[in-house]
């Protein structure tokens, strides 16, 4: 750059600086800008406040929902546990008891039938008339008392010989369960 150009550039700078001093920005621009900034800040402040309130409200709502739901969950859980344990326990026990009791009953019935069958499944016995009614006496000196109802029932269905008398040897018919189905006079002598 020549000395003349340098001098010329300095002159241009001076003219430019002078021109800048003569043309300053209108004060209205700054007023307008700062007013807008104020509005912007106010709007931001309001939105920020709304945001805080919204967050606080949401948090409260969430906590309320949690608090409302929690006792239900706890009670449900407790009920569930109680019901589950109680039900399972009782069911198991009652089922087992039922099975056991039924089994015991049937076993007792079976034993009684076996005992009756073993004691009385004798086809032959001696009929005796006593004050209480008819009795059947077998070789083991066991006595089977016949009820009037049984004799009546057997007579009705003609399963008891009407000619038999006290001291007669009779044949007794049992079914599989040991129930007397019929009594008839025996032609053979009882041999024990």
């Amino acid at each position: 750059m020549t000395k003349q150009n340098q001098h010329s550039d300095d002159a241009l700078e001076q003219h430019f600086a002078k021109r800048k001093r003569q043309h300053t920005a209108p004060a209205a621009i700054k007023r307008h800008v700062l007013a807008k900034q104020q509005d912007n800040q106010s709007i931001r402040y309001i939105f920020r406040r709304i945001g805080y309130v919204a967050v606080a409200a949401s948090t409260l709502l969430l906590m309320s929902l949690l608090l409302i739901q929690r006792p239900d969950q706890v009670s449900t859980e407790i009920n569930y546990q109680v019901v589950q344990l109680h039900t399972l326990d009782n069911d198991t026990k009652s089922l087992s008891d039922s099975i056991n009791s039924r089994y015991a009953k049937h076993y007792n019935d079976y034993l009684a039938q076996q005992k009756t069958y073993a004691a009385h499944h004798k086809t032959k016995a001696v009929l005796q008339l006593v004050d209480e009614g008819w009795q059947l006496k077998n070789c083991e000196n066991e006595v089977l008392q016949l009820s009037n109802e049984l004799i009546s029932a057997l007579s009705n269905i003609q399963q008891i010989d009407s000619q038999i008398i006290s001291g007669d040897e009779v044949e007794i018919a049992f079914d599989q369960t040991g129930i007397i189905l019929g009594i008839t006079r025996s032609g053979n002598h009882l041999r024990c």
């Binding site: 241009l12 700078e13 003219h15 800048k20 003569q22 920005a25 621009i29 700062l34 900034q37």
Partner: protein, 192 residues
């Protein structure tokens, strides 16, 4: 020594446009915006005024500062605030020119200035000649010259105007040559 340097750096940093803008972007403080306006408001207005007219310059400056308020979060820490501000303003101005199909060369204004030149060659007359010389430049040359006078480097000008550095150099050379010619023509002895 080190402490003094750190203190000086901190104090200096707190008053630069960049630190003011960063603090403003963070806080939205109205006072910081006011300081930024005081620092750069007149420079910006003069730049836009030189490229347009007073009415448009006022409008563009207001819009530019409002952009600063709205887009403050987009300001880059590494960037020079004044360059960012001038880029925003130039973009606004170019958009306005495109909307109105304006080429940035106000012929009527130039004619008025040329008429005023003929009256006197005192200080005001020289200023009028300088105005005429400046405004008679092509838009791109005027723009490059103004930006250089505002203290921007070639790189900054290239960045603001989205042009290669060599182009900027050329524009500046032509701008200064043309202005010298006009000044020499109308007031040669004062300019020298």
């Amino acid at each position: 020594m080190s402490f003094a340097l750190t203190l000086k750096t901190r104090l200096f940093d707190r008053t630069t446009n960049e630190s003011l803008m960063l603090r403003y972007a963070h806080s939205g403080d109205r006072a910081l915006l006011s300081k930024l306006y005081d620092t750069c408001g007149n420079d910006l207005y003069h730049f836009v005024l030189t490229l347009s007219d007073p009415t448009l310059a006022k409008d563009i400056c207001q819009k530019t500062w409002l952009k600063v308020i709205e887009k403050k979060h987009l300001y880059q820490r590494s960037g020079q605030f004044k360059a960012w501000l001038f880029t925003l303003a130039r973009n606004q101005l170019i958009d306005e020119f495109r909307r109105n199909k304006h080429n940035g060369d106000d012929i009527e204004q130039l004619v008025d200035l040329e008429q005023n030149i003929e009256f006197s060659l005192d200080d005001e007359g020289v200023s009028a000649v300088f105005d005429y010389a400046l405004l008679s430049l092509a838009f791109e040359q005027r723009e490059a010259f103004c930006l250089q006078q505002e203290g921007f480097t070639l790189q900054d000008i290239a960045s603001i105007t989205h042009s290669p550095i060599e182009t900027i150099k050329s524009r500046l050379r032509y701008a200064k040559d043309n202005m010298r010619k006009v000044l020499n023509k109308h007031c040669g002895e004062q300019n020298d």
